[in-house]
């Protein structure tokens, strides 16, 4: 990640980036590839060119996300074909290679099915962002009307300063337009925030589900590979007969069961947040503000947080303090999380 922690500023390479050379670049990567063709470029460039200014940037984002979806879809479809091809190739080989490539194909196929599910969910995120764009579109006219009335008043004052009656009428119109605009801006602000939050929460949750499931399948795939006898044979020697059919089938059954059981509560990969106290000394006066922050942020693994910040809990009362702090959290949540 960047030194600057922002995409808007120029990026400087970190010392680690300079020290550790990256892995060899894929042979398929190049200047001409990865651009996605004419349709992708058209969508990207034409987006927002016709609509109001306000929603132009978000229109482009929605179109780029459509490109992302299309590319992911192609990848999923190709991977599904690769799974089938792997299984077909294995069929011509010995029993063990045949069985294991077939089962590997099943796992890879399942991954592309998961990709498809993820694509459907990613589309929900995109549609939510699209509805923000629609709100932006609908707010634009009320802004325009207000500006237009204000312009006309300025024009009248300069051109016909004596036409008080006309100017008064226009000023009343301006008040009405301002009121309408005020409501529209508040709606825009509210809806943008709630939709943005909902859209990205949904995206991240489906990403967590997809990633963990893929990692699970990959783990079972590694177990499957252990069934493959890769000890070298001398010419003329025959390999011992393959008896892993039951084991390989059991691995697929286990993988299937693990995928079916998976829920978001079961997620293994958890972020650990370290809110250093000195960073917030200016904002909060209480000593255990960072723990409350973790609570306010819906931080899911309280135990670890308590473990890390255990020194803050070195109190004679122990657990009761915890209970008390969590109740105060709800009231202070608004000030912390704003």
């Amino acid at each position: 990640m960047h030194k600057t922690y922002s995409l808007r500023n120029a990026r400087t390479p970190t010392a680690a980036q300079l020290q550790n050379p990256p892995p060899p670049t894929a042979s398929t990567r190049g200047k001409f590839f990865g651009k996605g063709g004419i349709a992708f470029a058209f969508r990207r460039n034409a987006a927002g060119a016709m609509g109001p200014d306000l929603s132009r940037k978000l229109s482009q984002l929605v179109k780029i996300e459509k490109n992302v979806l299309r590319a992911m879809e192609t990848a999923a479809n190709e991977r599904r074909e690769a799974a089938t091809q792997l299984s077909l190739w294995g069929l011509e080989n010995d029993d063990d290679v045949s069985d294991i490539t077939d089962k590997l194909g099943v796992l890879v196929y399942e991954m592309s099915e998961l990709d498809d599910q993820f694509i459907d969910r990613y589309d929900q995120y995109r549609l939510t962002m699209k509805s923000v764009r629609d709100i932006e579109n609908s707010v634009q006219p009320s802004r325009d009307r207000k500006d237009k009335v204000a312009d006309r008043i300025a024009f009248m004052r300069y051109k016909e300063p004596d036409n008080v009656q006309k100017i008064e009428v226009l000023e009343q119109e301006l008040v009405r337009a301002e009121a309408e605009s005020l409501v529209a801006e508040a709606q825009l602000s509210n809806i943008t925030r709630s939709k943005l939050k909902a859209a990205f929460n949904y995206q991240f949750e489906s990403m967590i589900e997809h990633s963990e499931k893929v990692a699970l399948i990959a783990g079972y795939g590694k177990a499957l590979l252990e069934l493959l006898d890769d000890s070298p044979v001398t010419p003329g020697e025959t390999r011992p007969a393959y008896d892993g059919y039951e084991a390989s089938k059991q691995i697929i059954i286990d993988a299937e069961a693990a995928l079916n059981e998976w829920t978001l509560d079961y997620a293994q990969v958890k972020p650990t947040l370290s809110f250093k106290q000195e960073d917030y000394a200016d904002y909060e006066s209480e000593s255990d503000s960072d723990i409350e922050r973790a609570h306010a942020q819906g931080e899911p693994h309280e135990e670890e947080q308590h473990g890390e910040d255990g020194d803050l809990w070195n109190n004679e009362e122990g657990a009761p303090v915890h209970a008390q702090t969590t109740t105060t959290t709800t009231t202070e949540q608004t000030t912390v999380a704003v």
Copy 2:
């Protein structure tokens, strides 16, 4: 996954699939999309058309994997653009939306960087499979030569059965060709297995790394979203000033640290293998064969296995038995894992 646990047979829908309707299909999915254009189709159809029969299926697989790579690359590039666009859109909004979209952009950008790393590694897998194809290519001539000599002997026996000298020369040639072919087939068998195992182990490991890192970033993204104040305001009301700059920066720093610390040993998502004893009663006579199987398969979390199968370890000696069993495992590994 399929009832049949094989890609080669027809798939029957499970009861769960019939009961739970899938999520709404993405609006971008359709008959015409996700095929990847002319270049993709050409690569898929032309692969292996020129080379020897033996390597045709694997040639196609390698080409399809190239399509997978290209599509993933497009997706990563588009996602990188989406991250930049998200940050640009946020810039026009209020302080909190601006800061949080910028930081979200940083996280999404980092995901596409991870995608790039994964693509480079996936290419290594592809190149390893490609080297298997090359071995298949090189084995084909020795098979052909053997067949050709055998054909010529049959032809001579039918056409000139009295030309014993010529037939003898050919039979000696056949013995040489068979010896060469025997070596070639052994090489093919050895190299196919070791490369297949190495390639998929590498792919699955890089998949685990990629997935867990993406899940980590998504977790930090969810924490970031909690900083966004989405409580509705009434028209004319101003929102409290945003003071989350330090917190959002800290989340990015934490995410960066977590990504840098991540190693494969640290992986959270582990498969749980259940090798039921009754399935193997026919194959093994010993009562604790399933545990040895788990050992032989490099099952990474011994504690859980021991926990589950604790009753098998109810022995007066306890730990010494464990030590003894693990040493016998190495000798029995070949029979178990073959």
